[in-house]
Subunit: 308 residues, 2 copies
């Protein structure tokens, strides 16, 4: 088993979908990644920052799932990062209604001493300089570094982003972001270009259309489980990344073949995330539920054509 | 091996894509379905109508691929059906520039005597009354009837369409059409509603995002092969249907498990179709090329997670 270190936001979200709306609830990339990775019973730590307004019960919740929270700084006099968004009817696009950086504005991540030798590093969506700051603190070269990002950083901090992209092994990104980053419509061509920027492995997340993993000339395509309804897509991408990183940390095997399995685990966990608002479905997820859904994924995708 | 009878248009197409444009070239649903199904070396017949302006070389081309063309009527004094369309930059949407029905307007399909006992019937995109007319001529109950259609018929002949849908086993339809037919956004819910309309099996084609097969509570999802570029999507859906029907005719096995394989064959053949304009890639397709691409599909989708 490998150690996993995660950096990302821990936040308040307020979400509106065609199915309803929430007040401020638990959110943030590190929250979703951590909850998802916690299903592998690995040694994982979350690095983030919250304000004095952040309820202890939310931190307890992460700790109860086995996440080391010593790297989550509490700025007593500060306010927690807040994001609010409204999804359109197709659930594939959304408007950001509010973004209050608050304590995130001056966040300097600190990797706990006993996680500076983590084999797997998961850089959740955050300013690329913060992501690089975590990499810089690692005392042994990680076996695998994974970066998630979003179009926002391409718009306002592209050169910082390109610098950190250069230094990671895997990038997870959605289809529109891959297109924006490369100015290429074809995802195959976009993935190729991103590989030339640094990461040997490119994961392109296509929401309800699944996820693609590219490495050299190899491609793997994991469909998303077709769902009766997507209740709230918030956190699905982070949950995917957490499942991906968590599975790799658990198995310690970073071969392409095993990364396929990591993509399947990521997709499986993301399929739960969207079933309820926010983290609701993830905080109570049971291993037998995951097991059952993995079987559904096999039934969904595996076929028997003999080629000689 | 089972016999396959196909009904659909045999036509002239003029196509414009971001990569270029064509004059009148060979097109039509029955053409693409027939070319695709011909890869299985089965006993297949195409039923259609063309005008006196239709080049003999096009008919020869179908015959050379082993398709029985005795059911393709030639109306000497008439003109062949003509369709012209222009694809947008994303290749997922298109504008129809011209539709000249010509000989199609009074088309009465005639099933050749020796195909009235075909086990597999593939009703390609055409007026639903013409599709029903073919079903009515079958002298033995087919083992499997498959219907393809499009939004056009939902707009102008919905009740005729619903009548023929009632009488078929499988429907192949694209995602937008499934939504239009059921007024449901979720494809899972849409597929359920379509099953209640008659067909036990529902195939939803999602273009570059692959295809879904629904039956009772079972779902199978075949991704599309990620391509560097899609040159011309015309005929991809028909090529999919032809591969699907052709494989089922060849194997004679209409179980859900084997239908998964049929979906994979359909997707594989469609992945060739879009590589060149019109039928260009399909008329010269070799079995070793198909074999190689099937292997790519396995590499693309198959994974090894042991569940106990």
């Amino acid at each position: 088993m490998n150690k996993l270190v995660i950096v990302g936001t821990v936040a308040f979200d307020a979400i509106e979908t065609p199915f309803g709306k929430t007040d401020k609830i638990l959110g943030g990339a590190a929250t979703y990644i951590g909850l998802s990775a916690s299903n592998f019973n690995i040694d994982a730590a979350a690095i983030s920052v919250v304000g004095g307004d952040f309820p202890k019960k939310y931190l307890d919740l992460l700790e109860d799932r086995g996440i080391d929270i010593s790297g989550i700084e509490i700025v007593k006099e500060g306010k927690t990062f807040f994001w609010s968004g409204k999804y359109h009817n197709d659930m594939n696009s959304r408007d950001t209604l509010a973004t209050e950086l608050n304590v995130l504005e001056h966040f300097k991540p600190i990797v706990p001493e006993n996680y500076k030798d983590s084999e797997i590093v998961m850089l959740g969506n955050l300013h690329p300089l913060v992501q690089q700051g975590v990499l810089n603190q690692m005392e042994t070269k990680p076996k695998l570094t994974i970066l998630d990002t979003m179009n926002f950083w391409m718009d306002i901090a592209l050169s910082d982003l390109l610098n950190v992209i250069k230094n990671v092994d895997v990038i997870t990104i959605n289809d529109e972001e891959a297109r924006q980053l490369t100015n290429e419509y074809s995802l195959v061509v976009a993935a190729k270009k991103i590989q030339e920027m640094g990461p040997q492995y490119v994961v392109i997340k296509k929401g309800e259309h699944g996820a693609l993993l590219f490495h050299d000339e190899n491609v793997f395509y994991a469909p998303a489980l077709p769902l009766k309804e997507v209740f709230d897509p918030t956190g699905a991408g982070d949950t995917f990344a957490g499942g991906f990183a968590g599975y790799l940390a658990k198995t310690g095997d970073i071969s392409f073949e095993n990364m396929k399995n990591a993509v399947i685990y990521g997709s499986t966990l993301a399929s739960f995330c969207v079933e309820k608002f926010g983290t609701e479905r993830m905080v109570n997820l049971k291993s037998n539920e995951i097991h059952k859904r993995l079987q559904q994924f096999k039934d969904l995708t595996q076929f028997e054509i003999e080629l000689t």
